[in-house]
Structure formats: C-alpha cells, structure tokens
C-alpha cells in the first residue's frame, strides 16, 4: 500500500531521530503510483490517472499530515547523514535511502522510496456536489466536466477574437499580416499531460477534437490576442545542440592544444582520435599513414569531411586507432571520433552547424537480424507450390 509504505518510512525517521532503527520493519511494497526517477520530459506516463476513478480516497488533512511528516523526516535524514538540512535535495534523499536500506530486489517499484506525498498520492478532485446533492458545475452530468468546460472556454475565446477582428474591420484597421503566435520550438500537450491537467480521463477522439479546436483558434489572423491561453497548452521543446558534451581543451607540455575523441561505434567498428593543434594535416591510423590504410578514396573523403566542412584542413595533426568492422565502418567511426574531438576547438554556433550537417549523430544502422522461417533478414525460402 502506497500510504503505509510512505508513512512507514517517513514516520520511521520521525520516531528514530537517534539513529536506532530496525531494518526488518521497513515495508517496501509500493506497488502503485510510484514515480520513477527518470528525468524524462513528462512523468505522467508512469502513473495511472486514478483520480478520475472514483470519489476521493485521501482527505486533505491526511495529505497535509503526510507532507509535514515528510518534511520532518527529511530533516532527520539529513542530520543522520551529516548533511545540511536546508540544502537537502530529492537526489540526496534517494541516495541516502539507497545507502541506509540497501535492497537486493530487482523490481525498481519494490525498493524503498521516500518522496514528497504530492508525487506519491494521486491528484484527486474534491467532492463535486453540495450537501443537498446538487452538483456545483453546470456540466457535471456530461461526465467530463473539465474537458467540456475547456472546450467551451476555447470556443468562447475564438468568438472573442472574431469579434475583435470585426471591430477592427469596422474601423478599417484590419490587416492580414498581424503578429502571429510563434509555434516553432514548442509542441502541443500530450493526451496524458492534458489528462493530468484536467484531472479526468479523456478519450483519443476527445483529445483530437481539442487539438482541432486549438488549431482553428490559431488559424484566425488576430489570435495573438489569446496568446497566453494558447501557450498554457503548449510545452517548450529543448534545443538539441545544448545536449552535446564538449570536453574542455587540454594542453601538453609544449603548450600545444590537443583533444581526444573517445571511442565511437559504427556497426561494430570503434575508433579513437587524438587531435593536435598547429600541425600540418598529417594523419596516422594504427601507426600507418592514412593513404596506405585507406586505399579507397571514399574512406579518405569521410576522414576529411569534418575538417573540410569547418575549413581547418591543414590545421590538425591526428593519431587514430581503430579496430573491428570493415573499411567503410572504420572510416565512419573515425569520422565521428574526429567530429567529437573537434568540438572542443569550436564555438556554439559551429557546433550547431556540425550537428545539422549530420556529423555528430552516431549512425544507428546495424546488420538486420535473420528471422525464423526465412533464409535471411529479408530473403524468404524458395516458394514451392506443393
């Protein structure tokens, strides 16, 4: 039971402020609504929306008590670990619990957990009707009151925008090229995220209708009037170039800058590169000159691709080592290693250009597996009529 599990750990630490506790009595069965620790964009997918399932299961005072217990337990835990209680983050809590209650279980959801009650107990709705049994919301009997009231709100906004446009037309101030809401770099809320927002379940069809209505609102020329409303239902996408790990430049004893590209995979071939600055453009692979190691022009072109793209052909000296795969995949692995090593020498804008040229993505293509009932990956056995 989630409640008992959370309560056990929290109240445990509350009672045992003096570091005497019994390992055996920690119950670690937290089967439902356990939020995973993954740092994915929306954690909503990992828990079921039980809020819509029935009447409220936990009263407000209960949740408040849980929050207090959690905070006090957090301070005790910080004292136990010898850390500062003020700056004790959730990551620290997780590490401390993993240290104090080591669990040999494989199922992540079965291990001991200490999280804020808001993440453990599902968000739920207060009772929707008064003492006389009359519901508060006028759309209660539709079954999905939040969803339908949202649709009504959106449509009201669309009508308001159209009225605004008509007023402008009446005053002759209407122009087609009004300021538009910028949609690039953001996406619509996912169905699961919308469900979490509305605290009720909606179907795929409902979600599609909602998106359709929002698109219709956006098609009006003066929709920027309702920009705040629209942006509430959009999420920002993160800029991809910020995800590249750029190693800092290293300097050897002569003061020459160098950088290493760590072993990159392309179809079972791995390569490493040591890029040295202020060189003459010489490349040695596994001890031999690159012209002798790669007799095929295409492979040498692949080695030169990142250097030529950035215009630094004669600047670097390279010592490469490569193993595995065939000549083409070795050239591909080296190309990726060279690109990654070059990142330390480049600015942000240049890193983004390299990424858009396709130099920084590891090629995921591998040999397709053979399937049972077929001779190869695609080839079927000879068809015999009888």
């Amino acid at each position: 039971m989630a409640a008992s599990g959370g309560r056990t750990v929290g109240s445990f630490l509350w009672k045992c402020g003096n570091c005497c506790f019994n390992f055996n009595t920690v119950s670690s069965n937290l089967t439902r609504q356990v939020l995973s620790r993954q740092l994915c964009v929306s954690a909503v997918l990992h828990r079921k929306n039980l809020a819509a399932a029935g009447p409220e299961k936990f009263s407000e005072e209960f949740i408040k008590k849980q929050v207090e217990e959690f905070n006090i337990g957090k301070r005790h835990l910080a004292n136990m670990m010898g850390e500062d209680p003020e700056t004790f983050t959730q990551g620290d809590i997780n590490r401390s619990i993993a240290y104090l209650f080591p669990s040999g279980l494989f199922d992540k959801k079965a291990k001991p957990l200490m999280k804020h009650p808001d993440e453990v107990f599902p968000k739920q709705r207060a009772v929707q009707w008064g003492a006389d049994g009359r519901p508060f919301h006028f759309l209660f009997y539709t079954g999905k009151q939040s969803y339908y009231s949202l649709m009504h709100d959106t449509f009201t906004k669309a009508l308001a925008v159209e009225k605004h446009q008509d007023r402008l037309r009446g005053k002759d101030l209407f122009t087609q090229d009004a300021k538009q809401i910028s949609l690039v770099g953001s996406r619509w809320l996912l169905k699961e995220e919308l469900e979490e927002l509305l605290v009720e379940t909606i179907s795929e069809h409902d979600y599609a209708r909602f998106i359709q209505l929002m698109e219709r609102l956006l098609s009006l020329p003066y929709c920027s009037v309702e920009e705040d409303f629209v942006q509430r239902y959009r999420r920002q996408l993160e800029i991809q170039s910020s995800k590249q790990q750029v190693q800092p430049l290293q300097y050897d004893q002569h003061g020459v800058a160098y950088s290493t590209g760590d072993g990159k995979q392309r179809k079972t071939a791995t390569g490493t590169v040591l890029l040295r600055d202020s060189g003459s453009g010489s490349i040695s692979i596994n001890g031999t000159n690159y012209v002798h190691y790669f007799p095929v022009l295409q492979d040498r072109e692949q080695l030169m691709f990142p250097l030529h793209f950035m215009g630094v052909l004669g600047r670097f000296d390279m010592q490469c080592s490569v193993s595995g795969g065939g000549h083409s995949s070795q050239a591909g692995a080296l190309r990726l290693a060279i690109s990654r090593a070059m990142l330390s020498f480049l600015s942000e804008g240049q890193v983004e250009t390299m990424r858009q040229a396709g130099l920084l993505t590891p090629d995921p293509r591998i040999k397709e597996r053979k399937k049972p009932g077929q001779e190869g990956a695609r080839r079927k056995f000879t068809w015999k009529k009888r």
Partner: protein, 229 residues
Amino acid sequence: MAASLTGLLKPWTPRVLLVRWSRYNPYYLEPEPRKEVYHIPETELTPEQKEERELKSVRPIKAATNSVTSSVFNDPVLSKFVNMMMKDGDKIIAKGIITQTLENMKRKQVEKYHKAPEGKKAETECNPYAIFHQALENCKPVIGLASIQKGGKFYQVPIPLTDDRRRFLAMKWMITECRDNKHRRTLMYEKLSQELLAAFSKEGNVVKRKHELHKMAESNRAYAHYRWW
C-alpha cells in the same frame, strides 16, 4: 508525437515491422552537408528558411551517410548512378567504372576540341559532369505508362511521372542498355561513355527508347481517363 522525448532519441525498431523501416525514429530530420547553406547571413533568409532553421534546432538530425561529403566533387545524382550500377555491394568497382567513364568522355571531348575549327571550339563541352547531367536529362521520359485493369483486360494508360521516377528510369535504361547491347570485348566504361556522349547529342538507343515510350503514350491517349489519381 510519441511518448517521452528520451524514447525518440534512441536507435529504434518499430513495434510493427513494416517492409520499409529504418533504425531512426521518424522524429529525426535529414542532414544538410553542403557548406554554402550555413554561410547565408540572417538577413537574406526567406521566412520559410527561417522557420526550417528553427525547426532543425529543436529536432535531432540523422547521421550523414558514407557516400556524402561537403566537398565540391560530391554529386548526389552521380552517387545514385553509382549505387544503381553496383552489384553485390561492390561499390569500389562501380565507382572505378564511373571514374574511367568520365575520364574517357573527357579525352574524347578534348580530342574533338582540338580537331574542331576555331568557330566551333567554344561549343564543344569538355566538362564530363556537365555532359553526364545533360545526357541524363535528355534520357528522362516526360510521361509514362501504367498497366490498369478494366473489364477483364489490361490497358496501357499514360500517366504523369514524378521527378524521382523519371530520373530512375533514365538511369535504369542507360545501365541496362550498356549491359545488354554491347560486344563481348568492349569494356563497360567504354560502352557507357559512348552511350552518354550519344545521349548528350540526342542520338543513341536510350533516347530512342524514350521516344518510343512517348509515342506509345500518345497513341494510347484515348485511355487516359482510366486513370483515377
């Protein structure tokens, strides 16, 4: 859009294996390896290009393939031709044949250039890449035929062709022509350079085949309304 973003950035096998699938999630965009595109200053971009740039900054990009570089000698049409000529994955031999073809064409054209009178010298095209592109253009059919079943019989119906299909047909005809209709002793590059030079001056078997296809389409004009797309 699929579930969480981390799931979109990994090498991926689709849950239902279609015939044509790739290890990239469909979320990935195609790379742009040419250098000039990135040196256009901000002011000279059209609104579509600006939007495309902003989209590219938030989406992951596929890796560039092995046959693509940023050098001036990288030609996508020529790469496609090399791949179509390749047998059993032996690209070294196919690329060698093409290189020899281009060299052969250049030699023939330079010979013609030196033999030509003064007035005609400027007209002889010596750049083998230009000859190749022009020859391929001359071989591309404008209209194609499709076999459509109506009332138990199959009719050859004239249909419009997409650019990719036209390019594919031109290359395919060129390669089959050079493989089938040559003397046992002539080498592939020799025959290919002959055919390309003939196609450049709108003669030769490939251009004849294109004209025959056009004539068939013209004669079957009456069945054009059988096409429903």
